[in-house]
Amino acid sequence: MSAKTDNLKEVEARSKAALPQDIVDWIGECKKRPHPESQLISTLHKVQGHYGYLAKEQMDAVAQLMQIPASKVTGVATFYHFFRLHPRGQFIINVCLGTACYVKGADRVVEKLKLELGIDFGETTKDGLFSLEASRCLGTCGLAPVVMIGDDVHGGVTPDKVPALLETYINKARSLRKQSR
């Protein structure tokens, strides 16, 4: 430390390299406006949007570029349920466990999903395809029970419909893989 007191430039360059350019630019924009530190949560949303989760490397980079203590960044990332600190599957299955869905039998849908996928909440299938998560309400209670897979919300899901539903996404993943090849 004492020999080289100012390695700011070096650290900054390293932090910039750890993040996609649009997020680096975004942080730059925030700093021009009042209260830049208030954009921490929005920034973490962007990072998670890009990588699917918040890795330590990226959180440190955000801390550095936004000039917010790393402890504070971790504090925020762990406080909010929406943020994930570990990688997740290609499709995130979000089962609503809100009141409306609960009284309409969401617990049974959960059982079926766990059985079919062989995983518990917070886990990812071995093939990396699905992660199972619970949500406290997706705002489509009128269609309960509701399950969100990726960006699609599915209403009126019964245990019987689960296998076919999963099949759609397995096929989707397959065709996506083909496309990328």
């Binding site: 949560i41 349920h81 929406f82 409306a100 406290r136 705002g139 489509t140 209670c141 009128g142 919300v153």
Partner: protein
């Protein structure tokens, strides 16, 4: 010197008119498809695509396809409206790919509506005129002028019998005569969209003779102020689910395209703002809002005018206004629907609020779980900036104000005002002790007003139609309507907007259609995790902030979950405590530890190991947590327990003393057995058992291995011979 606000606005309105005229062109057929998270979940995107393909293939240029938000008729989505000029609009329900095809070929091309898919109870093509009669609180309770009877008496018998004319009674049009109850009534003639003010039987005769029989509008009786719900009723008035409602906050839901600012302007959008700016007196706005008796729709019911006045009184000149769109109550979706279906009205409400309290900056705090709502609000803000409705010098009046969106990140406690402020500041969303209240010291230490989405949606309506009008719709202490999100064990799930003071029974049975499958209603859960369960005997309670508190629940933000005889009240209490425990921010001990201990006790009771002493402990702990927690989350978390302990004590006692779950829900207290006399050996149960633990061969008695059974109830559901019993 007069302000150019109104003049600039008139310019905008003219522009909107000409843009829409170009687009609409009279004589064109319009197909509208709902577009909101719920509509998409039900499959409306595919339906939209199907219509688009058909229109393209037909090569016709007289068919317009458009999107609207959602109407709040969740259980019948996707909903599609078809408007053929000169005919009543036809609404279809549960439209899928095939239905879309049928609608296009039969209705659009062939002129014959697909009758079997028409949305519940609405008119079909044989109806020429529909006469909608206001039977709201003021018009409808008129002993001397029973409009329905008088119309029936004077209409030619054949017209009614042949179904050419339909009489429909609707809830308050929002045009209540100022001359007190019963001085006059209102009738809306569809599809002509003409509204009449009726004072006596002669008026009725004149309307029938001239308008209904000859098609000539009776100008003498015509009302020229458009009723707030008129455009909604014009589109949906024949649908039973809707005409018992009174649409103020949801006035544009399912009517306008939420991504088109010109449509909003066309329906008087931003006129309230223009008038306010023209007047140039923030104090006047606050007085209007105060006089309207608008109370916060986020749950607390704090008078909005008073909140604004508190902020305005402060000496600090930088002030902020925030829209609380964190909609945390699980089972509530009013705010989502409003944000998605009518985003401009909320933006307008916020600009007016900002002006009233003297803020130049506002924030939307939207939960991240609502991506479409976020997108629509973003779009609305951009559009407003383009037209000079946000930013510097709004409408040329010198008033500057801008809005920004901040996202939540899945913490329920962030709906609490001080936690929400911390979250916007980029911190962990933990509440702090109040006072100071945010209206004195909030965001970055500045005076801050936080209001709910629905509160803001009502603001333009109050200013456009007047405080007296708004106050008249509601009750003595609380003006206007309330939107409820009806879900759970009810036939028609969806959004219901009714005047304050409507009874729970009307909401659940008349509009919601009661409990499905012939089951009995057990309770109406209101207020979510902060509320309680209202038993059947209190269904005649008139909804309002104070009345619901009297029956040990709260109004809350509008979530209303219907529970039936299959729902265990103790399990529901456990559900909510588990929720609050999970969402407790952990800052204060009573809430952090208390909810955990309460949950343990409730788990013991539902698990069959509860003792009588547990009931005493539970009640004591609940009272303690309620009294000593720091914020509203902890203070309200015990409510579901206290309410059910009071209203449904016998059910707790059955679990504790008799080790029985009367609703047969708690799996530790039930078992499944196969009745040897009824089982025919069809093997269906064995095939469906997930364990599997049912043995038996085809055509012989099947038996459940009790040691292995996880009591999932599948066998009970699938057996077609009633052989599986739940004991």
């Amino acid at each position: 010197m007069s302000n150019p606000g109104l003049a600039t606005y008139t310019g905008l309105a003219k522009k909107a008119e000409s843009i829409l005229d170009d687009r609409r062109e009279s004589g064109k057929i319009r197909i509208q498809v709902g577009s909101a998270t719920c509509e998409h979940a039900a499959g409306s995107n595919a339906v939209y695509e199907e219509f688009r393909r058909h229109i393209e293939a037909s090569g016709r240029d007289d068919i317009i396809l458009r999107r609207t938000g959602c109407t709040g008729r969740c259980s019948r989505e996707p909903i599609v409206g078809v408007m053929v000029p000169g005919h009543l609009p036809v609404k279809y329900q549960l439209v899928d790919h095939d239905t879309a095809h049928d609608i296009f070929t039969s209705h659009i091309l062939g002129g014959k509506p697909v009758t079997e898919k028409i949305l519940d109870g609405s008119a079909d093509e044989s109806v020429q005129y529909e006469i909608m009669l206001c039977s709201g609180e003021r018009c409808g309770r008129n002993k001397h002028l029973n409009l329905t009877k008088l119309f029936e008496k004077n209409l030619p018998k054949t017209a009614l019998e042949l179904g050419q004319v339909r009489l429909v009674s609707a809830n308050c049009f929002g045009l209540c005569p100022s001359g007190g109850k019963g001085s006059a009534g209102h009738a809306l003639i569809r599809p002509d969209n003409v509204l009449y003010h009726i004072e006596n039987e002669n008026d009725i005769r004149e309307i029938i003779d001239n308008h209904i029989l000859k098609g000539n509008v009776v100008e003498r009786l015509r009302k020229h102020t458009e009723a707030i719900s008129q455009r909604f009723f014009d589109m949906y008035g024949d649908v039973a689910f809707f005409n018992k409602q009174s649409r103020t906050a949801l006035r544009n839901a399912g009517v306008i395209n939420p991504e088109d600012i010109y449509e909003y302007i066309h329906y008087n959008g931003f006129e309230a703002l223009a008038r306010v700016l023209e007047k140039g007196d923030p104090q006047w706005v606050i007085e209007k809002i105060t006089a309207s008796k608008l109370r916060g729709r986020g749950g607390g019911g704090y008078p909005t005018g008073m909140k604004w006045a508190n902020a305005r009184k402060t000496t600090e000149e930088t002030r902020y206004i925030i829209c609380n769109a964190d909609e945390g109550d699980p089972g509530a979706f009013m705010d989502r629907s409003m944000l998605e279906s009518d985003p401009f009205s909320i933006v307008e409400g916020m600009i007016i609020g900002g002006y009233a309290i003297g803020a130049s900056h506002g924030f939307f705090y939207i939960r991240a779980e609502y991506p479409l709502a976020i997108k629509r609000i973003e779009h609305a803000i951009d559009e407003c900036r383009k037209l000079g409705l946000l930013g510097d010098n709004i409408l040329g009046t010198g008033f500057s104000f801008d809005l920004e969106i901040r996202l939540g990140a899945g913490a329920f406690v962030c709906g609490e005002e001080t936690a929400l402020i911390h979250s916007i500041e980029g911190l962990r969303g933990q509440p702090r002790i109040r006072p100071p209240y945010p209206s004195q010291s909030g965001l970055w230490g500045k005076p801050t007003v936080i209001n709910n989405v629905e509160t803001f949606a009502n603001v333009p309506a109050v200013l456009l139609y007047g405080s007296e009008w708004f106050r008249n719709i509601g009750t003595e202490k609380s003006g206007g309507t309330k939107v409820f999100a009806l879900a759970g064990k009810v036939n028609h799930t969806g959004l219901v907007e009714v005047p304050m003071g409507t009874t729970l029974r009307e909401v659940v049975f008349d509009i919601g259609g009661g409990v499905p499958n012939g089951k009995k209603l057990k309770a109406v859960q209101t207020g979510g995790p902060a509320g309680g369960c209202i038993p059947e005997k209190f269904l005649d309670t008139e909804v309002d902030f104070d009345t619901l508190a009297q029956v040990d629940s709260i109004m809350g933000s509008g979530g209303m979950i219907i529970l039936d005889e299959d729902d265990c009240i103790v399990d529901i209490a456990r559900f909510f405590i588990a929720f609050s425990q999970d969402e407790s921010c952990g800052k204060c001990t009573p809430c952090r530890e208390g909810t955990k201990r309460m949950l343990e006790i409730l788990e013991r009771i539902t698990g069959g190991t509860g003792t009588p002493a547990d009931l005493v402990k539970l009640e004591r702990l609940a009272t303690l947590v309620k009294k000593s927690s720091l914020c509203g989350l902890g203070r309200a978390a015990p409510n579901p327990v206290l309410s059910t302990l009071k209203q449904f004590r016998a059910e707790y006692e059955a679990h504790v003393f008799d080790k029985k779950c009367p609703a047969k829900k708690c799996s530790a207290l039930i078992k499944y057995e196969i009745d040897p006399n009824k089982c025919v050996g069809c093997t269906l149960c064995a095939k469906n058992c997930p364990v599997p633990c049912i043995s038996g061969v085809r055509r012989e008695l099947h038996v459940i291995d009790q040691a292995k059974c996880i009591k999932c109830g599948r066998c009970f559901e699938v057996c077609r011979f009633d052989a599986v019993q739940r004991l």
